[in-house]
């Protein structure tokens, strides 16, 4: 019994790391652009379709598919910002909300029109494989997804700390006026942030495509998961997204174990409420404001 508990909690942590990658995308977009991407979940679903087709048509494993999805979705996010969202940057939040709801509806509609309503399940032995880690027996696809997500989050952190472009993004996030003054190309940085945000969502989608079956209407759920993850961790903080993701994964797994599986989503919302009320800027958020 104890062992199966450990297994389940480990599974919760693994899926939590993927949540963290999804949340990282949202948090970067918000940090730099001050825009809340309500179409984030739909971008995850787009990544899932890429993961599915990379597997079924090209035989590519999920981590490779994640790279393709990241590149494609980066381009999508970049262009979306440049062609559309940029015009809404100075508009009030509720207007941006409608914009992203519109984008989400279009993406979902495209998925339904192109791929049909059927659930696309990655098949093959990998979806049934487990690996043993000491006493634990873990799903291979989950380990693979969590590993891929961890690598991507780490590279993102390194990029933001070390690369000049990444440092410029952080500067823009910290102080927009200041970065305009020192001559940073803020619109371009915003487009990059949007690209990176979408790439995170797409890569996460490709990584979980062997874990969850792909269908058009999953978007809202992923958007909500991303929000909970990011708010718990602290909007605008990558470390926060990681901790938030793992916490949510753990909270859902332990709630399902100890209380009732049906209440696990209520549990993560409960966690969100607590954090919102007790530490409104999140566990890792800046306390200012």
């Amino acid at each position: 019994m104890l062992l199966s508990w450990l297994n389940i909690l480990a599974g919760g942590v693994l899926i939590g790391i993927v949540y963290a990658l999804i949340g990282s995308g949202l948090t970067i977009m918000f940090g730099v652009m001050r825009v809340v991407n309500f179409a984030h979940g739909e971008m995850v679903v787009a990544g899932m379709y890429m993961g599915y087709f990379a597997h079924s048509l090209l035989g590519l494993p999920a981590p490779l598919a994640a790279i393709i999805a990241a590149v494609v979705m980066f381009a999508f996010g970049y262009l979306l910002q440049r062609l559309l969202v940029e015009k809404f940057m100075a508009r009030p939040q509720h207007i941006q909300f409608i914009l992203f709801i519109g984008i989400a509806l279009v993406i979902t509609g495209l998925h339904l029109a192109i791929f049909g309503p059927d659930a696309h399940a990655v098949d093959g032995p990998i979806t049934f494989a487990t690996i043993s880690l000491g006493p634990l027996s873990l799903d291979l696809v989950r380990v693979q997804a969590a590993g891929g997500a961890a690598v991507l989050i780490l590279s993102l952190v390194l990029f933001l700390r070390l690369a000049p472009l990444g440092q410029a993004m952080r500067a823009a996030a910290d102080n927009r006026t200041g970065s305009l003054v020192i001559g940073l190309n803020v619109p371009r940085i915003c487009a990059l942030a949007s690209g990176i945000g979408a790439a995170c969502a797409g890569a996460a989608g490709a990584l979980i495509s062997p874990v969850f079956d792909t269908e058009p209407y999953l978007g809202l759920e992923f958007t909500l998961i991303a929000f909970v993850t990011v708010i718990v961790g602290g909007l605008g903080s990558l470390a926060g997204a990681l901790v938030g993701g793992v916490l949510i994964g753990l909270a859902e797994a332990s709630a399902a174990l100890a209380i009732d599986p049906q209440l696990k989503t209520a549990f993560s919302y409960g966690l969100l409420l607590l954090v919102l009320l007790l530490r409104p800027r999140g566990l890792f958020g800046a306390d200012a404001g």
Binding site: S4, P117, A119, F128, D213, L257, P261, Q262, K264
Partner: protein, 404 residues
């Protein structure tokens, strides 16, 4: 009367050479408009679109047999609750004199209210909430099993399949999707399990959120009960997740027997799981595989819809069109009231789905729908019970997942 019967049989004679039809069938100059409400977009789009293919098949069969000229007018409920009413109004405005729909219980209730006001009959192809025929609607005819009837038959099939086994299974565990459908099924299961005195003890009932993607905890909990058989009440995606988790957690109960759920017979289930789908059993209303006209109809469906399987969503939708055609012949008119009167006296003996003649009781319910036991074999569902329609033997216990 004789000629009527001949005409009706002709319509039902799927793909067969058309027989001589009564004049009434062809005499109607303008086609009668038949409105169809289905969720062809939105979260229910998958099932809605399968049902839509069944409707097309039913209409094509009617045309092929020279039945009354009809024109199908579609309305997409977009999987929203308030569109049932709007859809009925829209279809009635377009001149439809009889309707078919609406797949989900919420839209069906919403539509039934508008039908009641407009005095236009609606033939429910699919919707299982028992309340639908208990609310006093007079314009509604349901050719689908309400949860209680479905489960009574399903439990009987389960009982038959387990009675003669040795060792006889002693315990079971239920895993159910906590949505409108799963809730109705679970309620009925508990009641009927006791009524029929099934000598298998249900150890636990483990529910999960219908939106849950990850069922590892639920399956682990079910496994921990040590039950001999698993009774899953699912939709298709969660049924796939459950089997995947069972394989990973190396759980091999004696049998997996689903009481009346969607999932195991669908193509996405057998495709996603491959050999691990085999031996999964489900008892549902199904087409009669021994009926030659039905077999021709199934073959035609699969020929015209490559990559699709003829299952109950398509089957009952097809049958709904046949019920309407039959009523139109007897009504001799496109007047909704006349069609309503004809539907009341529906009595169709030869039809694709397994069961007795299609007849509606005072509440508009067809109580003669049969229920078979299916078992997935070699990637496709096979009818293994009851004996009169079985195409093979039950394989029991299931072959352990790691020995496949």
């Amino acid at each position: 009367m004789i000629s009527h019967n001949a005409g009706r049989r002709a319509i039902l004679a799927a793909g067969a050479a058309s027989l001589a039809l009564p004049a009434i069938g062809r005499a109607q100059s303008a086609p009668v408009k038949v409105g169809v409400l289905l969720p062809t977009s939105g979260i229910l789009a998958y099932s809605g679109q399968v049902a839509a293919r069944g409707i097309q098949l039913g209409a094509a069969l009617g045309r092929g047999a020279g039945g009354p000229a009809i024109e199908i007018v579609n309305y997409d409920t977009q999987s929203k609750p308030d569109t049932g009413r709007l859809g009925v109004e829209s279809l009635v405005r377009d001149g439809c004199s009889v309707l078919i729909g609406a797949w989900d219980s919420a839209a069906t209730i919403s539509a039934a209210q508008a039908c009641e006001a407009a005095k236009v009959p609606i033939v429910v192809n699919i919707a299982s909430a028992p309340q639908i025929t208990e609310q006093g609607f007079t314009q509604l005819f349901r050719n689908f099993t309400p949860a209680g009837v479905l489960i009574r038959a399903a439990v009987q099939r389960i009982k038959e399949a387990t009675d003669s086994r040795s060792p006889r299974p002693a315990t079971a565990v239920v895993l159910y999707a906590n949505d409108t459908f799963g809730n109705a099924i679970l309620g009925a299961l508990d009641k009927i399990w006791a009524q029929l005195e099934v000598p298998i003890k249900i150890l636990d009932r483990i529910g999960y959120d219908e939106k849950a993607r990850d069922l590892s905890v639920e399956v682990a909990k079910a496994r921990a009960t040590g039950a001999d058989i698993l009774l899953p009440i699912t939709r298709v995606n969660d049924a796939i997740s459950i089997v995947r988790e069972m394989v990973k957690q190396k759980w091999n109960p004696q049998a997996i027997m689903s009481p009346g759920s969607p999932g195991p017979y669908e193509k996405s289930f057998t495709d996603a799981l491959g050999k691990y789908a085999d031996d999964y059993m489900v008892s549902v209303p199904w087409y009669d595989p021994r009926n030659p006209t039905t077999r021709a109809l199934v073959a035609r469906f699969e020929r015209e819809n490559p990559g699709q399987r003829f299952e109950l969503n398509a089957g009952f939708s097809c049958e709904a069109v046949q019920i309407v055609l039959d009523a139109l012949i007897r009504a001799r008119s496109a007047d909704p009231a006349a069609i309503h009167a004809a539907l009341r006296t529906t009595n169709i003996a030869d039809h694709p789905m397994y069961g007795g003649p299609i007849q509606f009781d005072a509440k508009g319910q067809n109580n003669n729908i049969g229920c078979v036991l299916l078992q997935d074999r070699d990637g496709a569902p096979l009818v293994v019970g009851p004996a009169e329609v079985a195409m093979g033997e039950v394989r029991y216990p299931l072959v352990p997942f790691d020995k496949r």
